[in-house]
């Protein structure tokens, strides 16, 4: 691999409200990694993801892409963010439509993306006819339809029930293995981050910054057996400890304030 896909150097982001969302953030993302951003709410992990996606601009610092320009990116939001007036097929068609690909030419790619998330039979359903988990699958299919080099997921399963969430976690791992995409996954769940990632990046809040990185060396593919293993428990303990310290850091700062 010829260097990191993207390099973030000394990134700072101050919102117009004056809030310092991120300060002094440095990160290298290697090709094929599954990276998790783990942290308490308000720690800037979502902001970092949006910076990488180019949805917002950093106030200071640089985002450098290996190939000189931002590659094709797929983005999955916290909510499914589907167009309610369009059926599943047309929702997944959107990225291709914006690239002026005709519906007929796009059909194959759309059906492939939908079968990848197990929704091949629901092309003509409307979003409101689907369950929360199915809507999220459509959202993932839409993010994958352009075969992105980098897939960004912003707490995608936070609103789903435990069972659906575990199922979707396995699906994300399977999709990652099939496509070989580099993935960055934002979450506030220790267990989710350890189960999915090759590396967990722990954030602390006020200002948002990276406080530790944990490599998860367990081999892919991971299954239920990994969830029950001693390694998993140890990694979770490690990540949980780092997260506790990150929260503690913030609280001590708070305690110092009048």
């Amino acid at each position: 691999m010829a260097g990191p896909v993207v390099t973030l150097r000394a990134i700072g982001k101050t919102f117009t409200s004056g809030t310092l969302a991120i300060d002094g953030l440095n990160l290298d993302v290697s090709e094929g990694e599954f990276l998790s951003f783990l942290g308490p709410s308000g720690c800037g992990k979502s902001t970092a993801l949006r910076l990488i996606a180019g949805l917002i601009e950093p106030t200071s610092g640089t985002v450098d892409w290996r190939d000189g320009a931002r590659p094709e990116i797929g983005f999955v939001f916290q909510e499914p963010t589907l167009m309610p007036w369009a059926n599943v097929f047309d929702n997944v068609y959107l990225p291709l439509r914006l690239r002026h690909v005709s519906r007929a030419d796009a059909r194959g790619q759309i059906e492939a993306a939908l079968s990848l998330v197990g929704l091949g039979d629901f092309t003509s359903a409307y979003p409101r006819e689907l369950s929360g988990g199915m809507k999220m699958r459509v959202s993932i299919a839409r993010a994958l339809v352009l075969k992105p080099a980098l897939l960004l997921l912003d707490e995608p399963f936070a609103a789903l029930d435990e069972i659906t969430r575990l199922k979707l976690n396995d699906d994300v791992l399977r999709i990652k293995a099939e496509l070989g995409t580099t993935v960055i996954f934002v979450t506030h769940s220790v267990y989710e981050s350890v189960y999915l990632s090759t590396r967990v990046v722990v954030f602390a809040a006020r200002p948002g910054r990276i406080v530790s990185m944990i490599d998860i060396a367990a081999p892919m593919p991971r299954t239920e057996a990994f969830r029950l293993s001693q390694d998993y428990a140890e990694y979770c303990g490690q990540a949980s400890g780092a997260l506790q310290r990150a929260i503690g850091l913030r609280d001590s700062v708070h305690g110092a304030l009048p």
Partner: protein, 269 residues
């Protein structure tokens, strides 16, 4: 839950549609009975049967007027849809355009049309003046609703469009316009009813000058002649026109939104 249902589906349908019809028929019947029992003369209060009869016997005069009012109202609605929709899209392009021109729209809206009508009749030929009045009142709800709808597009979807490098027109065509559709249709339903009110109000102003021949003019004219049944007959036709406009746009909304919009779907209990 079929066991909790008190009535069969057929009986339920019959209640839903039959009950209002029955109550309405009873009200008309009571009116008819009141007039007959008390022998109220038609120049004070005509019986519904006489009003119905007048619509038939005076159909020649009334239908001509109905056509005049209908033509103006429909033209005003179409102009308001085109004008209100286009201006809303223009407003969506730039906050500055919106800030500059929105006050004009508000002034037109808050000034009672009945006060503007005499002035318009001075400057414009009567039919055009009536059309202008109907347009002015129908225009604002369509403009403000559509503008609100265009601004209500999901922010995450806007981000998604930005991520894929969508052009401005793509964002408008594929995201803002569909998001605005339910709002726009709500505006059209209000505007449609208001167009008729505006047309009638302007006709009343113009009618006293003896220049217009719409339904409102017929009411004024019949009033001068103490032809009370014809006043009622013209009134019934105006009501029916309003109901027809309402039903048309309600059906249109239903057809366009039934697949995806919550407002058009029954809630499961």
């Amino acid at each position: 839950m079929s066991d909790r249902r008190l009535l069969s589906p057929f009986a339920e349908k019959l209640t839903i549609y039959g009950l209002p019809v029955l109550v309405f028929a009873l009200a008309i019947g009571a009116w008819e009975a009141l007039v007959r029992i008390n022998e109220i003369p038609p120049y004070i209060l005509p019986a519904p049967s006489l009003v119905g009869q007048t619509i038939i016997t005076d159909w020649g005069v009334l239908s001509t007027s109905l056509w005049v009012t209908l033509k103006i109202t429909i033209s005003a609605i179409l102009l308001a849809i085109a004008g209100g929709g286009a201006l809303a899209i223009l407003f969506a392009q730039s906050k500055w355009i919106e800030r500059s021109f929105f006050p004009f729209a508000v002034i037109l809206q808050v000034t009672p049309i009945i006060a503007i009508a005499p002035l318009l009749l001075v400057y414009l030929e009567p039919t055009t003046a009536v059309l202008a009045c109907a347009f002015i009142v129908a225009f604002f709800p369509i403009l403000s609703n559509t503008a609100l709808g265009l601004a209500s597009a999901d922010h995450n979807l806007l981000d998604l469009f930005a991520l894929y490098g969508a052009k401005r027109w793509q964002q408008l065509a594929y995201l803002r316009l569909p998001s605005a559709l339910p709002f726009f249709l709500g505006g059209v339903r209000i505007g449609g009813g208001l167009a008729l009110i505006g047309a009638i109000a302007a006709e009343l102003s113009a009618g006293t000058a003896g220049q217009a021949t719409g339904l409102a003019f017929r009411i004024v004219e019949a009033g001068y002649r103490l032809n009370i049944p014809r006043m009622f007959a013209a009134l019934v036709l105006i009501s029916l026109t309003g109901i027809a406009i309402f039903l048309f746009f309600s059906t249109l909304s239903w057809l366009l939104l039934r697949r995806w919009h919550d407002s058009m779907r029954p809630q499961e209990k």
